[in-house]
């Protein structure tokens, strides 16, 4: 997988780490690093309630570089879209129920993740496509940032970031936003969280320009 990612000229890869293994350095990360990739630890949260989400954020925020929340319930979605400790929010493709639009989209501070693993030719393809188009339209209307991911667990699920941008463009994003969705946005998330881990007291918007001679 690492070799193929390098061939696709990927520079940064988010590797999903189970919550109980966040403290250690899994061997799988070395394989990606050896291929010249910048690896970011990613935690996928699937909370069933608002309290479960808040507990998980308190516990794991400083231990990983990317936190993604699957919004399976409206109560979870309402918190996840607003909490600045959440980097990515993901809504399962469905026609009704907890979907990304209206109030949720208007209050969203996190980046909306479009998961391409759900999109495959076959039964349900049109529904999934419609659902993604609707999510992207809601995001564009409310200036919510969008990113695309493959959620790959095998080399056959990997895709080139530029091809993902092509799909996002076909689904309704402008070409500029689509390219940003697979390049600038993921890099910004990781850079911001690395800075936050290094300087936990720095507030959002604070940037270190240089240090005083006495500090060095």
């Amino acid at each position: 997988m690492a070799k193929l990612l390098a061939e696709f000229r990927v520079r940064l890869v988010g590797v999903v780490i189970p919550a109980d293994k966040l403290g250690i350095h899994p061997i799988v990360l070395d394989a990606f690093e050896d291929a010249g990739l910048d690896v970011a630890k990613r935690l996928d949260l699937k909370p069933r309630s608002r309290d479960e989400l808040l507990r998980a954020l308190r516990r794991y925020r400083n231990r990983c570089e990317i936190i993604s929340v699957e919004c399976s319930a409206t109560s979870v979605a309402r918190v996840a879209v607003r909490d600045r400790r959440v980097d990515l929010v993901y809504f399962q493709n469905r026609e009704r129920g907890n979907i990304f639009r209206g109030n949720l989209a208007g209050n969203c501070r996190a980046v909306l993740e479009v998961n391409l693993s759900e999109l495959a030719h076959g039964p349900g393809f049109e529904t999934a496509l419609r659902s993604l188009r609707r999510d992207i339209a809601s995001a564009a209307q409310t200036s919510v940032e969008v990113t695309g991911s493959t959620n790959a667990s095998s080399p056959f699920a990997l895709r080139s970031p530029r091809d993902i941008a092509g799909l996002l463009h076909i689904l309704g994003l402008s070409i500029r936003s689509a390219l940003g969705a697979v390049s600038d946005i993921p890099h910004e998330i990781v850079a911001r969280n690395r800075l936050r881990a290094k300087m936990p007291n720095a507030e959002e918007g604070v940037k270190v320009v240089r240090r005083a001679a006495a500090d060095e």
Partner: protein, 104 residues
């Protein structure tokens, strides 16, 4: 026209004809018969050992071809991945880039 160097990832050896049909099928399912005509896609060459192919489409439909390639997930029931490694406006330019790719 725009030319693409496409990398296919498959477990077993795969023939050019099978891949060509799978690509045209993916384009047609995504954009319909009329839309696929607009792409003017042509499967120009395929090297079985490296699973690299050269595919062509019109300059205006670059994103559509990329999307069709992205949505290719299986062929004859076996899993498959496809991704564009390089693109060029001329086939000659693409050959230069392939040579650069092989030298690395």
């Amino acid at each position: 026209m725009r030319y693409f160097l496409v990398k296919f990832v498959a477990r077993d050896p795969i023939s050019a004809d099978v891949l060509e049909n799978a690509l045209y099928g993916s384009i047609e399912r995504m954009f319909g018969k009329f839309g696929s005509e607009e792409l003017r896609t042509r499967f120009i060459a395929f090297e079985e050992s490296s699973k690299l192919a050269v595919v062509r489409c019109t300059s205006a439909s670059v994103e559509k071809l990329r999307t069709a390639l992205l949505l290719m997930r299986e062929v004859d029931g076996a899993p498959l991945a496809a991704g564009v490694l390089r693109s060029s406006g001329t086939i000659r330019g693409l050959k230069v880039r392939v040579r650069g790719l092989r030298r690395r």
